[in-house]
């Protein structure tokens, strides 16, 4: 090592010692030795004074405490977050907080996926001849099925008998609370309200004379649902099992549609 390099390293170490001195990081002995050196070296003492000024300036920036209303706002937002995301904390790492569409949230997705899976399972049971009499065939012009939320207490509209025109593999699954009846359609696709029951029902009571006047409500197909999920980073936000479940449900829907 050259003499200049040794000098530089020594000076650099001395400078770092100076910072450590100011931060109270030296031992008692080291501190005493440093004080003695400063009395003998005016340049070192000046340097120390300049660095100490910075400390003073930084410490003065700590003084004004944040406004209480800001802290209160954070506290309220935190409480709301803790209420809204009861499962999120189980993850080790989370993405930074940002707003998410309702249907992206884990609880809703699992509920929706389970309902879809249940619907598919019931259809398959019916298709193999083991279903109950509650499954009906609807004309091809009938409104497509949509997933709605039916409050338990809500009175349902009576379902008129349907005259069969042509067989079509479309499901009509009524809620247990209103067997043989159809409920008012809702645009709610997923809901966080666990008191409500999610079921697959016919969107409108089917009356043969009125069939042609009803615009069908078309669900996105499996590819579209997958595209939406990816677009909203749904898959990225859930664990592997949830992802697999979701893909499985989407795959089963596709399989049913191709029948």
């Amino acid at each position: 090592m050259s003499r200049d390099r040794i000098k530089f390293v020594n000076e650099s170490e001395e400078e770092e010692e100076l910072s450590a001195f100011l931060d109270g990081e030296l031992s008692f002995k080291e501190e005493e030795a440093f004080r003695i050196r400063m009395t003998q070296d005016s340049a070192l003492a000046e340097r120390c004074e300049a660095l100490a000024e910075v400390n003073g300036a930084l410490q003065s920036m700590v003084e004004p405490a944040p406004a209480p209303e800001r802290l209160e706002r954070i506290h309220q937002a935190l409480r709301a977050q803790l209420t809204a995301e009861p499962f999120a904390g189980e993850m080790e790492e989370r993405l930074p907080l940002r707003s998410a569409p309702l249907w992206r949230r884990g609880t809703s997705l699992v509920g929706g996926g389970a309902a879809l899976a249940a619907g598919v399972a019931l259809y398959l049971a019916w298709a193999t001849g083991s279903g109950s009499g509650r499954l009906e065939l609807l004309p091809p012009e009938a409104p497509a099925l949509t997933q709605v939320v039916v409050p338990q207490e809500e009175p349902a509209l009576p379902l008129e008998p349907v005259e069969l025109i042509a067989p079509a593999p479309v499901l009509s699954l009524a809620s247990e609370a209103s067997e043989g009846e159809a409920a008012t359609p809702s645009e709610t696709f997923y809901s966080e309200n666990e008191e409500e029951q999610t079921v697959l029902v016919q969107a409108e009571p089917v009356i043969p004379a009125a069939v042609e006047k009803v615009d069908p409500v078309i669900l996105p197909d499996a590819d579209e649902q997958l595209a939406i999920a990816i677009e909203y980073e749904m898959l990225a936000d859930f664990d592997v099992i949830s992802n697999l479940e979701l893909l499985e449900v989407l795959g089963r829907i596709e399989a049913v549609e191709s029948m």
Binding site: S19, L22, L51, N55, P64, R70, L71, R73, I74, H75
Partner: protein
């Protein structure tokens, strides 16, 4: 070892089901943490979000909590990681655009000496904002908030020796910046007198 830290005691109470202890921890640490986050990310709104997120993680980690360091060290480490992630985000607004957002010096009519102090305060803030992020973090935690090098090392997950070097480099850079600021001020005053 850390059982004597009152914040650790609160955290252990919280772990055992005392929700009020969590609120006390928030009350004690949200302010300092918010100041730290503001210095690190340079945007008041983002700093608030990160403080919220840090306490959210503390809340959710309670069942796994073991006192292996002072509570503040643990909390600051969580917050520092959040801040470093935030600083990596490309859509983050530039630090200097936010300085009026973070400005700690109060506005309003004041004497000449107060205005000088305010200007100098702004210069310090600017100089601090210009430091590389780890230097800024180490210097703030050590020189402004009085954390020991060992604690800063734990927060930043580096060695104490590295902290010593970071703090010194940051402090020296600030001295140089402020030195040139004072030279400029003196020149301006002389011109005004002439």
């Amino acid at each position: 070892m850390y059982q004597s830290d009152p914040d650790v005691v609160l955290m252990l109470s919280f772990r055992d089901g005392d929700e009020a202890a969590f609120d006390q921890l928030f009350e004690r640490w949200a302010g300092p943490l918010l100041r730290y986050m503001e210095r690190m990310v340079g945007d008041a709104a983002t700093a608030e979000e990160l403080v919220q997120e840090a306490f959210f993680r503390v809340h959710k980690a309670r069942s796994r909590y073991e006192p292996r360091a002072r509570f503040s060290t643990w909390l600051y480490r969580i917050a520092t990681n959040l801040a470093l992630n935030e600083l990596k985000r490309p859509r983050r607004r530039h630090f200097h655009e936010e300085e009026e957002n973070v400005g700690l010096v109060s506005q309003g009519p004041s004497s000449e000496s107060e205005m000088d102090a305010r200007k100098k305060g702004t210069a310090v803030e600017q100089a601090l904002a210009d430091l590389p992020e780890r230097q800024r973090m180490a210097l703030w935690l050590s020189a402004a908030e009085g954390h020991s090098y060992a604690e800063v090392a734990s927060v930043l997950e580096i060695t104490e020796k590295a902290v010593k070097a970071l703090v010194h480099r940051g402090r020296t850079a600030l001295v140089e910046r402020l030195g040139s600021y004072e030279d400029d001020t003196r020149t301006t005053v002389r011109r005004g007198v002439a």
